[in-house]
Symmetry: C2
Subunit: 234 residues, 2 copies
């Protein structure tokens, strides 16, 4: 079937395999986590890797990433963006494979993450990532760097938290991302002054006797302000 759709142009060019790989981060109040899988195919079967797939002839590269994320996590709308192209000639001994990597952020509270048992997956602490196949360790390092850079200027942190979260929770997330402590008072002041959080009546009592008020990220308001030149920065 694919053979029937031969290029009528570009006859001199050589096709290669194109894959996508997804670097998936999560956050569980202890720290940042990375989702890894035991590879199912040769070469390197049963070694740890990020998830990936070849791009099918009739799907866009982005669509392949979305497909794979849903296949492995059961989640349909995950925050995801392109990380970069990994195109060294010999990066995969199995064939010439060019990979487009994506990085994705997941809320660990989502009930229906069905990864772990079904796909021999495991959430790894960022400080104890095992050796991965191919250039996947490099991809992870690049993804982390992107997360660091990006979290500072874009409100992507909320993608890692439940819809309702407390300020201390949010702060813990940023502390995990930046790997350093932040001042409680200044953090709260800054994030609240942006006027992009809606305070709820509820409290989260899971981590203190007093309980911490829950907030919700107001994406709409943020979008409007961003249009007008507002710069998120934390």
């Amino acid at each position: 079937m694919a053979a029937s759709k031969k290029p009528v142009f570009y006859a001199e060019a050589t096709p290669v395999l194109v894959a996508i790989d997804c670097i998936i981060f999560g956050f569980d109040n202890e720290g940042l986590k990375l989702l890894l899988f035991k590879r199912k195919v040769e070469p390197f079967r049963n070694e740890w890797s990020v998830i990936g797939s070849f791009v099918n002839p009739l799907e866009s590269v982005d669509a392949a990433a979305v497909r794979v994320l849903e296949e492995y996590t059961g989640l349909k709308s995950i925050f995801m963006e392109p990380l970069g192209c990994y195109g060294e000639v010999d990066r995969d001994p199995g064939a010439r494979v060019i990979s487009q990597a994506y990085f994705a952020l997941i809320r660990l509270d989502e009930e229906d993450i069905r990864t772990v048992e079904t796909h021999q997956a495991h959430w790894f602490d960022l400080h104890s990532i095992p050796p991965l196949i191919l250039d996947h360790n490099r991809m992870v390092a690049d993804a982390l760097e992107k997360l660091h850079r990006k979290a500072r200027y874009r409100p992507i942190g909320f993608e890692l938290l439940p819809q309702k979260f407390s300020i201390p929770q949010l702060q813990a997330l940023y502390e995990a991302i930046y790997q350093r402590e932040l001042d409680r008072r200044n953090f709260r002041k800054k994030i609240l002054s942006m006027n992009i959080l809606d305070k709820l009546e509820e409290k989260d009592k899971s981590s203190s006797r007093k309980g911490a008020y829950l907030y919700r990220f107001n994406k709409k308001r943020y979008g409007e302000m961003a249009e007008k030149g507002f710069d998120f920065q934390i």
Copy 2:
């Protein structure tokens, strides 16, 4: 030859064509410019496009970009970085082609830019970019956005200026990038306070009777400071 290196794994996957495209910016004291070319091959022969090429089986994707840039400009070490992957199924009616785009910055004072006559190339003002083939207009828009974002936090502006440049020249560049005027005194104060420019004895008399002192970007010093956490921001 390529045929002899058939994949021993991944037999079920379908190879596709992979191309690279380069979005090239320049700056000539009047404003930002974009380098475009008349396409040499069908389909869309003779229409305007950014330059590109298919990735050869024995070269990395990055290497393909470097090769193409040199082929068309004669310049070997151009500032260049990946822009993103363009992977829609039908983006190229000639075949299924996935393209990795790069964005590149060129010093227009380099003597040996041999593009223009040899390859039917033209430097376009950013405000009068013609319709381009395929998704190239989108690529250009994305590249511009990246330039905006990146120029603010990384010293990439210097890649667009001659090795020796005056402060007013540098300011004109940033004004061109941001599309707004900046205060002379504050701009100078800020950039000089970073301590990454070396003042030279020479003056540039090309744009005023008095002449403006020339400076050089001290890349080494910047690198050292960046290691220690210094944040370029302008």
